[in-house]
Symmetry: C2
Subunit: 281 residues, 2 copies
């Protein structure tokens, strides 16, 4: 048993699934679900995601060895401020947000007890909410832990151990390295998928029945939750805008080759794409 | 039995799988594989994709009730010219190319016997070649048949019947309608995936192990065969370049909203994307 009491702030898809796994794998003796809507917290409890639920910060946080903030990215810094009065010196606080730089910057200003260590477990789904809670969500997949210069090393090690015990492959990066990397392999691809779907509204409405697996796979993430993703994108805007520029340059280069019918250059380009893509598995 | 003899020109993934299905479903009594490489034709025959194989046009075409040209798109018009001397008045000729306008234009100039009816069965894979031949490839999925003003109506009806008998949902469009529609839902998405992968070469090489299912699905088609796709793209270049323009405009609009932190507009945009994408299933 790593923790007697773990508190999860926010009991949605990610928070609920985490509570379930912490109890199931006996990583936590008790899991407290802390949130604003008692009715929804009770649903989470009835589904086995928490042993206790509360809307009161003091009750929720006091005595917790670990607090996991599982809220949309823009709410994470404020949530840290709300729970700060009830943290003890040894309480470890982490989060599960997909953006790390802006969160580390804001929390860093107030984290006098060096309680916080950022995490980004790369799981989830285009769905959201406790209804879509999933057993074993953290059993595999990658998690990035993002200690910065001010981070308490022991707490960082405990957070890394937590995700590994849950079954994840853990890497560490600084918050800024994380945002740069994830802009490229997750945030920007979402943006590109939104644009792809909206740009082909007419074809989708008129030719639904002939849309094949290629388009479907390429745009699956275009069905992501708008509230979560608008926040993620705005909190990592500099890196994402850099990605848009780099991508549009590639499209311009492709357009040039196509316009000039440069077939062997085009083949080379597609070959490079194929080999890179095949290398991912 | 619809046909005593069907000849398939080109025995790759598509042609081989078609031969297998025509024999399996007893749509053809005999299937002749016509190609240039006798060794590879014999592999196709040994795998059950043909009852006869030949490299000789006269032997291959004479007596065939149906000829299916299963070659890369740029080779289809020349293949039609090569077989034309051996076609009878009633021979139906179709193809399986992903581009229809340029092919119909070129073949139309020589199709004095009105033998040709264009088809585009939307199956296949990012793989190619007889080694990747697949049983049941035509059992489901959509097929577009593209009769034009000059097309023989009886032959078009027979081609539609053929794909339906194989198990496909068939729609008809003119060749130009086809190219416009398929540029949007297939050709351009491939181009966008090539650009996405090449644009993120560094992240792919350095962070392979943390790339998740979102990026993988979004770029699966980026591993497509370069020889086939360079041809497809160049043969539908006008429509594809129009798609690049429309898409880059959407990206510019998104960039503007992001740069100005217009969160509610961004949410509306993503919501539109989500609802459109969810409507496809």
């Amino acid at each position: 048993m790593m923790f007697k009491k773990v508190t999860i702030v926010g009991m949605g898809l990610m928070g609920g699934s985490l509570g379930l796994s912490l109890l199931d794998k006996k990583i936590a003796e008790r899991v407290t679900g802390l949130g604003r809507n008692l009715k929804r917290l009770h649903i989470a409890k009835s589904k086995g995601a928490a042993t206790d639920v509360t809307t009161d910060h003091k009750t929720g946080i006091t005595g917790a060895g670990l607090v996991v903030i599982s809220l949309p990215v823009m709410m994470i810094p404020q949530a840290f401020m709300d729970i700060k009065p009830y943290l003890s010196k040894n309480t470890i606080v982490t989060d599960m947000g997909s953006v790390k730089g802006a969160i580390a910057d804001k929390i860093g200003l107030f984290d006098t007890g060096r309680n916080f260590v950022g995490s980004h477990p790369m799981v989830g789904s285009e769905k959201a909410g406790i209804e879509n809670m999933k057993e074993g969500l953290y059993d595999k997949g990658a998690c990035i832990v993002t200690p910065g210069a001010q981070t308490d090393k022991k707490k960082a090690a405990a957070v890394i151990r937590l995700w590994k015990t849950l079954g994840m492959r853990v890497s560490t990066m600084t918050p800024l390295e994380h945002d740069k990397c994830i802009a490229g392999i997750s945030h920007f691809p979402h943006l590109a998928a939104f644009a792809m779907v909206v740009s082909h509204e007419k074809e989708i409405l008129e030719n639904k029945d002939i849309i094949g697996p290629g388009f479907k796979d390429a745009t699956r993430i275009a069905a992501s939750n708008e509230a979560l993703w608008a926040e993620i994108i705005l909190m990592n805007k500099a890196e994402i805008l850099r990605n848009v520029d780099a991508y549009v340059k590639q499209l311009a280069f492709l357009s040039y080759m196509i316009d000039k019918s440069k077939i062997s250059d085009l083949k080379e380009y597609i070959k490079k794409s194929r080999i890179l893509r095949e290398s991912i598995k």
